[in-house]
């Protein structure tokens, strides 16, 4: 691994308080490098193309002034923050709301710095965290989002992470802290043009009793590579509803890790991934039940069309002492062509007594009986197929918190899969 090149690229970054943190990231990444397919969690996803792009793109640090990006469709009454090429876009006025604090990482105050450093150091010994270390080496452009204890943020906060089409290695980082009994809706949206590279890290900490709706929509350009680590830590009686949509990019790998750290913590996850064309989409989730009476429910749907390849791995670990855990994982996948493939593996590790765990995974094709039924009613084959695919995705899409965003995503998916159906299989 050409660490010299990474160090060189980092040296170009401003000399701020984050430099020691960046050095830690460089050191860790230098020691471990990119995840290898020899590691069980990475056996289906070869990051060689990502490594190649990273090294090539590091030679071009993102320009301080990115090119203007096409504004994403506005979905009504939300607050918006723009990232371009992985960094908080300069010259924007950050939204203001009572109880909400948005600060560039580099400008964080003492308390903010402590929080950021704490999250930087809390890295698991797994390869996804090595990618997070690489991200940490470029951490200056990130954002700290804090919701004050007891605050109820009415308007959803949309973080738009766009690429301007330049060959840069975007390393966005969001550090989010929802205070005790706060309430907030967060939407993280990735979009862009060109053959970009994104290595994203989101850290979300939920204080006692916090209620957070957190949606990630990955709709990057079809030539982009996207890897991401999301770490959620839930304290006592906090509740997070996650919607995870992995719809774009040529190669994407998403690691969602949730720590249910105190009694009463509850997470629900609704995920959808779509691999069409020749895309490779890999979703790994890991839920750690660390305390008694923690709840998780996870529903993942995968669609692979054409020569698309999907991977889903859902791991639930119920730790010693986490009695009264209730965990439910369900993954269903749909293959729309002979050459499409999805590999799925739910994994349960249970070290506690008195737990309720259920898991199931299936992969199949469109139901031939349903298809014939719809056609017998007069729906053309393409329309009938599209109706069944939409029905399959609907269970997840209807969880998107903004109705208009939901419509946009649904229509986009319909068009895409219709196009894919027309392409020779």
């Amino acid at each position: 691994m050409s660490i010299a090149r990474i160090e060189q690229a980092c040296a170009a970054l401003p000399d701020d308080w984050l430099r020691p943190a960046r050095d830690i990231g460089i050191a860790r990444f230098a020691a471990n490098g990119f995840p290898s397919t020899r590691h069980e969690d990475w056996k289906y996803t070869d990051l060689a193309p990502v490594a190649e792009r990273t090294l090539a793109y590091l030679a071009n640090p993102p320009p301080a002034q990115p090119a203007p990006v096409e504004p994403l469709q506005d979905h009504g009454d939300s607050m918006r923050v723009l990232f371009v090429n992985g960094r908080l876009a300069p010259g924007q006025r950050l939204p203001v709301a009572e109880g909400l604090s948005l600060v560039a990482l580099a400008d964080a105050d003492a308390a903010g710095r402590a929080r950021i450093l704490d999250r930087l150091q809390a890295l698991r010994a797994d390869p996804a965290a090595d990618l997070a270390a690489l991200n940490a080496a470029f951490i200056s452009g990130g954002l700290l989002i804090e919701i004050a204890a007891g605050a109820r943020i009415e308007r959803p906060l949309e973080i738009l992470l766009q690429a301007d089409g330049q060959p840069v290695a975007a390393q966005p980082r969001l550090v989010i802290s929802a205070g005790a009994n706060s309430q907030v809706t967060l939407i993280e949206q990735y979009a862009g043009t060109g053959a970009g590279l994104t290595n994203a890290v989101t850290d979300l900490h939920c204080g006692p009793g916090a209620q957070v709706s957190y949606t990630k929509l990955q709709a990057e350009s079809p030539d982009t590579h996207h890897v991401a680590l999301q770490r959620l830590v839930l304290e006592r009686d906090s509740r997070v509803q996650v919607v995870q949509l992995d719809l774009g990019a040529r190669l994407s790998r998403n690691d969602l890790q949730v720590e249910l750290g105190a009694p009463g913590a509850e997470v629900s996850i609704h995920g959808l991934f779509v691999a069409d064309g020749t895309a490779h989409v890999d979703n790994h989730t890991r839920l750690d039940h660390l305390a008694p009476h923690t709840l998780s429910s996870e529903i993942y749907r995968g669609i692979a069309a054409n020569q698309g390849r999907g991977v889903f791995n859902g791991k639930i670990v119920v730790h010693d002492g986490a009695d009264g855990t209730d965990a439910d994982l369900n993954n269903r996948n749909l293959l729309l062509s002979q050459r499409a493939e999805i590999d799925t593996k739910p994994e349960l590790e249970i070290y506690a007594d008195d737990v309720k765990c259920a898991h199931g995974a299936t992969t199949g094709q469109l139901d031939a009986n349903a298809l014939f039924y719809l056609r017998s009613r007069g729906l053309a084959e393409a329309q009938a197929r599209s109706m069944l695919v939409n029905a399959f995705a609907k269970e997840i899409l209807e969880r998107i918190p903004l109705p208009r965003l939901r419509e946009t995503v649904q229509q986009g998916l319909e068009l895409r899969l219709a196009r894919d159906a027309e392409a020779p299989a």
Binding site: F372, L374, S376
Partner: protein, 251 residues
């Protein structure tokens, strides 16, 4: 309207229909009866175009067109409707949404304008009332969580909205209690029209107490062995299939 001539059909290489012939004129109601395994459902499926059936001989003409050459949706556009013996549950596809899409698909292919939302809602409400279906059913997934009887009622409800010219009803009476059977029969009878025909595939005579057929055919070993009027169905009810089949073999 429908002319089936010497139809021969196999499934997985096994012959099921062995030279079946049947002619249906506009306005007629034909009942096709027969013991299990006689090929009744195969006939219904082949008429609707279900994949998996191999036609090895004969022909089916519908309004002078080669029906077997048409896709299932083309048959629907041409006015054919199949009432399924086992209606499929399709969670996530709304009942009314499907009906509207189906109705409009047919209208488009006939060069007619799409139905407007108010007109459609009125039509759907009227037919739901006729079938004594609660309106909450309309916005559920297609047949999702419906009981057997509700599914059958939903089939006839769809038929009354889509107004086909030829309805093939595959064992629509099976699994219905008497009240539901009356509702279903009432739905069918409300549709009777000099220009509309029905083919009722059934195992039991009791459906014919409520829907009076013009012709009753007995199917055995993949061909029609006897044809008569309503009286034949009554003879089947009293003598069973064995008696009628033995008589047919001797004649």
């Amino acid at each position: 309207m429908l002319k089936i001539d010497d139809l021969r059909v196999s499934v997985d290489g096994k012959p099921i229909l062995n030279g079946l012939s049947l002619a249906v004129q506009p306005g007629e109601v034909h009942a096709i009866m027969g013991p299990n395994g006689s090929g009744k459902s195969t006939l219904a499926h082949v008429l609707a175009g279900r994949p998996g059936y191999e036609v090895t001989g004969g022909s089916v003409q519908y309004h002078g067109q080669d029906l077997l050459d048409m896709e299932p949706e083309e048959r629907a556009w041409a006015g054919l409707f199949l009432g399924f013996q086992y209606p499929v549950e399709i969670p996530g596809v709304n009942n009314v949404y499907l009906l509207k899409a189906a109705l409009n698909a047919r209208r488009r292919h006939r060069g007619e304008e799409e139905i407007n939302a108010i007109e459609f809602l009125k039509l759907v409400r009227e037919k739901a009332a006729l079938m004594q279906m609660d309106e909450s059913f309309l916005n559920r997934g297609v047949n999702e969580g419906f009981s057997g009887g509700e599914k059958k009622r939903n089939e006839i409800f769809q038929m009354t909205v889509l107004e086909p010219e030829l309805a093939v009803l595959d064992e629509t009476d099976s699994g219905l209690d008497i009240d539901a059977l009356k509702i279903v029969a009432n739905g069918v009878n409300s549709m009777r029209d000099p220009a509309r025909s029905f083919v009722l595939v059934t195992h039991y005579q009791r459906l014919l107490d409520y829907i009076e057929p013009d012709y009753v055919h007995v199917l055995a070993d993949g061909r029609i062995v006897r044809t008569g009027d309503k009286g034949l169905a009554e003879a089947l009810e009293s003598g069973g299939y064995d008696g009628v089949l033995a008589e047919a073999a001797n004649s």
